[in-house]
C-alpha cells in the first residue's frame, strides 16, 4: 500500500512538473485531452485500484470476524475511568485488575463493555481496536501466538486520566493456563 501510494505521488508530481514545460496550447485537440485526463486518469485508473483494494479489505475483514470455534476462550473486559477489570468465563469468581490473562495459541473472545464513558480496547500486537460503549457489549477476537506480555491501552479519549489508561495482556502456555484456571499461584 505504501509503495503504491509513493508511486502515485511520484507520477502526479511528474505530470505537474511536465505541464510547466509542455508545448503551446494550440496544437493539442481538446477532445483527446478529455479522454486522457478525465476518462483515463480521473475515472478508470482510481476505480480499478479502489475496486481491488476494497474487495481485498472486505474479504480479510470477513475472515477476522469472531466465527464459531470450539477452542475459543471467553473473557470479559470492563472499562471505567481509569482502570480495566477482567473476568473469566472458565473461572467465574476471579477478577483481575490491569492484567488480562489469556492462553497462548488459542483464539480468545473478549467481551468489552464499560461502566461509565466510552473507552476502547486496543492491544496493538494482537488485534485492532474495539470500543467499550455504555449499554452495549462488543466482542473482539484476539490470539497471541506465543506466551509473554503484550501492552494494551484505551484508544478513546476519556478525560483527565486518558493518557495513563493502559493495561497488560499476559499470554500463558497451556500448562500455566491450566494452573491459572485452577486458581494456583502463578
Amino acid at each position: 500500500m505504501l509503495a503504491g501510494s509513493t508511486l502515485i505521488v511520484i507520477i502526479v508530481a511528474a505530470l505537474i512538473w511536465r505541464s510547466f514545460s509542455s508545448t503551446p496550447p494550440t496544437d493539442k485537440p481538446l477532445g483527446r485531452n478529455i479522454r486522457i485526463w478525465i476518462y483515463g486518469l480521473g475515472l478508470v485508473f482510481p476505480m480499478s485500484v479502489l475496486a481491488a483494494l476494497l474487495i481485498y479489505a472486505l474479504v480479510v475483514g470477513e475472515r477476522l470476524l469472531p466465527h464459531l470455534d470450539d477452542e475459543v476462550v471467553r473473557v470479559n473486559a470492563i472499562a471505567e475511568q481509569w482502570r480495566w477489570q477482567f473476568t473469566y468465563t472458565d473461572r467465574p469468581e476471579y477478577v483481575s485488575e490491569g492484567v488480562l490473562h489469556i492462553p497462548a495459541g488459542r483464539p480468545v473472545d473478549v467481551a468489552i463493555t464499560t461502566r461509565d464513558v466510552i473507552h476502547s480496547f486496543w492491544v496493538p500486537r494482537l488485534a485492532g481496536k474495539l470500543d467499550a460503549i455504555p449499554g452495549h457489549v462488543n466482542v473482539l477476537r484476539i490470539e497471541a501466538s506465543a506466551p509473554g506480555l503484550y501492552h494494551g491501552q484505551s484508544a478513546e479519549f476519556s478525560g483527565k486520566g486518558y493518557t495513563g489508561h493502559t493495561f497488560i495482556v499476559q499470554a500463558h502456555s497451556a500448562a500455566d493456563w491450566a494452573r491459572f484456571l485452577a486458581g494456583e499461584p502463578m
Binding site: A51, L58, G61, E62, L65, P66, V139
Partner: protein, 105 residues
C-alpha cells in the same frame, strides 16, 4: 429550477436508497429477521438483495427518463447524464456487500 432538479434527482435517489438499505439492515437485525430462512439464504439477506436490485432498477429507469425528455438548457442533459451514471455506479458499488458480508455481526 427544473434543470437543477434533473441534475440532482438520481444521486438523491441513491442517497435515499443507501440510507434505506442501511436502515433495513439495522432493523432487520434488531427484529431477528436474519434467523429466518428463505430459499437457502437468510430472509434478511433476500430482502436486502431485493432492495439493492430495486434501487438499481429505479436508477436505470431515471436514466432512461432523463434521456427521453428534454431539459430547458441543452447543457443540462450532459451534466444530468453524468450524475445519473454516478448514481448507478454508486448504487452497484456501495451496496454490493449485501451479497456476501455477514449481516448482523
Amino acid at each position: 429550477m427544473r434543470d437543477l432538479l434533473r441534475i440532482l434527482i438520481a444521486p438523491l435517489i441513491w442517497l435515499a436508497a443507501f440510507s434505506a438499505v442501511y436502515a433495513l439492515q439495522g432493523f432487520g437485525c434488531a427484529a431477528g429477521l436474519n434467523e429466518a430462512i428463505f430459499v437457502g439464504m437468510s430472509f434478511l439477506r433476500a430482502m436486502l438483495i431485493l432492495a439493492w436490485v430495486l434501487t438499481i432498477a429505479t436508477l436505470v429507469g431515471i436514466f432512461y427518463w432523463l434521456e427521453r425528455t428534454a431539459p430547458r438548457l441543452p447543457w443540462t442533459s450532459a451534466i444530468s447524464r453524468i450524475t445519473a451514471c454516478v448514481a448507478m455506479v454508486a448504487a452497484i458499488w456501495s451496496l454490493f456487500p449485501v451479497t456476501f458480508t455477514s449481516i448482523c455481526n
